[in-house]
């Protein structure tokens, strides 16, 4: 009995030691990215393609939000952070306190699409109408040319990059109505709008599906072409942040993202390229 306990303990400690030691023994080059869930679908595709072309490299990408990514970057636990908002002053100060200069790389553009249930007859809203809906001045679809139906306003969480971008473009200094449904991810916004006939929401272009309808804003559809042409009013840049100028694997990966091949992936993921596309 005693012996078996000792053996079990030894096995557990052995396993723990093994887990700790494993990354050291790893000969592959590794890079970890963390951050915005909006940028995630593009970066994942970049990572897959890059690893296919460069055997022996391992790039893993996770979500968690822009803030979590930038925090991890400043703390040095990851190599790159993807973000759907620009770095905030507080974060720059914290990085400075740790002797880190965070460098911004714009890797793609995104349009915020305003989405509704597909059965909603409304096809176009002006920025002013969207603003009134999010301020709580407009509460029924009838008031903007739709059915007599209560508007269910959905929003991303107050700390998300998508929320920040939408608020800057639409609300300015005003505060969003308190009865809006705050949802924890863009996928949750899409899910809620899909299941709620009176709902309105906003997501990045990459989240558009056939089950939801993207409205025209000021008469312009949320497409990459309209964004590049400067016609669509709700555009925003997407970023990758590095601690200092990237070197080694991080530099090679970033160069790939910015290359015509990498920007082609951006386009295929239905975001807007920021450089020449192959």
């Amino acid at each position: 009995m005693k012996k078996s306990i000792a053996v079990t303990m030894a096995a557990i400690f052995g396993l723990m030691a093994g887990l700790v030691a494993a990354p050291v023994a790893e000969s592959r080059e590794r890079l970890v990215l963390q951050g915005s869930t909006t940028v995630l679908p593009i970066t994942v595709k970049h990572a897959e393609e890059f690893m296919k072309r460069n055997p022996g490299t391992e790039i893993s990408v996770r979500g968690g939000g822009s803030g979590a990514g930038i925090k991890a970057l400043i703390e040095g636990t990851i190599g790159m952070a993807q973000a759907s908002r620009s770095i905030r002053d507080g974060e720059i100060l914290e990085a400075k306190a740790r002797g880190i200069k965070v460098v911004e790389h714009t890797i793609a553009g995104d349009a915020l699409a305003v989405i509704v249930h597909p059965e909603n007859p409304v096809a176009n809203l002006t920025k002013a109408q969207i603003r009134d809906i999010y301020l709580g001045k407009t509460t029924n679809w009838r008031e903007v040319g739709g059915k007599d139906q209560k508007i269910v306003v959905t929003s991303r969480d107050v700390a998300s990059g998508t929320f920040k971008a939408f608020n800057e473009k639409i609300l300015g200094k005003e505060k969003q109505r308190p009865d809006a449904l705050f949802l924890a991810s863009s996928a949750a916004v899409v899910g809620t709008v899909t299941g709620t006939p009176g709902a309105i929401g906003y997501v990045g272009m990459g989240f558009l599906r056939p089950e939801i309808k993207a409205l025209h804003v000021d008469g312009v559809a949320a497409t990459a072409e309209n964004l590049v042409a400067g016609k669509y009013p709700l555009g925003r840049p997407l970023f990758i942040y590095t601690a200092g100028e990237p070197t080694g694997l991080a530099k090679r990966f970033l160069d790939f993202i910015m290359s015509p091949d990498g920007q082609k992936i951006v386009k295929e993921a239905e975001f807007v390229p920021v450089g020449p596309v192959k």
Partner: protein, 294 residues
């Protein structure tokens, strides 16, 4: 090694293990307060607890009022308790007092199995099945409401309440029931007039502990409560409980910023509420023992 030294070593080892949880608890409390108290540099305690506006990231005029979040938590937990108490205590009475042993052996494990469903699965079922049903059944604009979250929470914590309440009922000695039958009471009278009053402290402990679990639950409320930061006025409105707020916003916030500290301060509020419930349970138990109700 002598027997005495061996005993000593084992004793020390066990003490050390017990101390780990004490140290962890203290550590958690210290971190919580160290990160949360700075919030009161920019918002007064009273404004924090009674403010109605939760706009922590607003660039021009941020607001840190968590009354809507506190009320969201309380409404959801209250709704869940309204469902759990009659059903949970009823089930405990059935298992402990009415069911034949063979039936009891089947039903009890099944009820307990409900508690082993991961809360994220409960949330998912709520999101995909219950929320649309609630929306259509009550003709609501949206199915993500306090009611939806309460039902899923009640399902998840029902077994917890059932098993603690059942333990309390089982702890009532047979002699009490036998005395009741001896003076001519029937089964119904024995349950309502003798067993339940005697087990009341234990059953209320079950309810309070269940309520504490519901207040702390995060995944279900995050997924199905809707997330509107507004003081609710009915069970069929969306709400944003405190736990859901922390879970949803912590990942994206600037570490060390005002919003970050405010989220930790919400954690303190949750911690204090749970602590109060815990003390309440202990008081009830103490009173219960002193009065020797059995």
């Amino acid at each position: 090694m002598t027997r005495a030294t061996k005993d000593k070593i084992i004793e020390w080892g066990i003490t050390l293990i017990a101390l780990t949880s004490v140290i962890s608890f203290l550590g958690i409390a210290v971190v919580l307060f160290a990160q949360g108290l700075p919030a009161f540099n920019f918002v007064g305690l009273w404004d924090f607890l009674t403010g109605r506006g939760w706009h922590p990231t607003h660039v021009y005029e941020p607001e840190f009022g968590i009354l809507p979040l506190i009320m969201g938590t309380l409404w959801v937990a209250a709704g869940a308790l309204i469902i759990t108490v009659p059903f949970g205590v009823g089930a405990a009475i059935y298992i402990s007092e009415v069911a034949r042993p063979a039936v009891k052996d089947v039903i009890k494990p099944i009820i307990e199995l409900l508690n082993s469903v991961p809360s994220v699965v409960m949330g998912f079922i709520g999101l995909l099945i219950l929320a649309p049903a609630v929306m259509n059944l009550f003709n609501l604009p949206v199915g993500l409401t306090i009611f939806t979250a309460s039902v899923m929470l009640a399902l998840l914590y029902m077994p917890y309440v059932v098993s603690i309440a059942e333990d309390a009922l089982n702890a009532i000695p047979m002699s009490l029931r036998e005395a009741s039958y001896a003076v001519g009471a029937n089964k119904m009278e024995t349950i309502t007039k003798v067993v339940l009053p005697a087990a009341f402290p234990g059953v209320s402990t079950a309810v309070i502990l269940g309520g504490g679990q519901m207040i702390g639950e995060t995944m279900i409320v995050l997924m199905v409560a809707g997330g509107a930061a507004m003081v609710p006025t009915s069970f069929f409105e969306p709400a944003r409980p405190m736990t859901a707020t922390i879970a949803a916003e912590m990942g994206e916030t600037v570490v060390g910023g005002d919003h970050y500290h405010a989220l930790f301060a919400i954690g303190i509020v949750l911690f204090v509420i749970t602590l109060i419930l815990f003390i309440l349970v202990n008081l009830i138990e103490k009173k219960f023992r002193r009065e020797k109700l059995w």
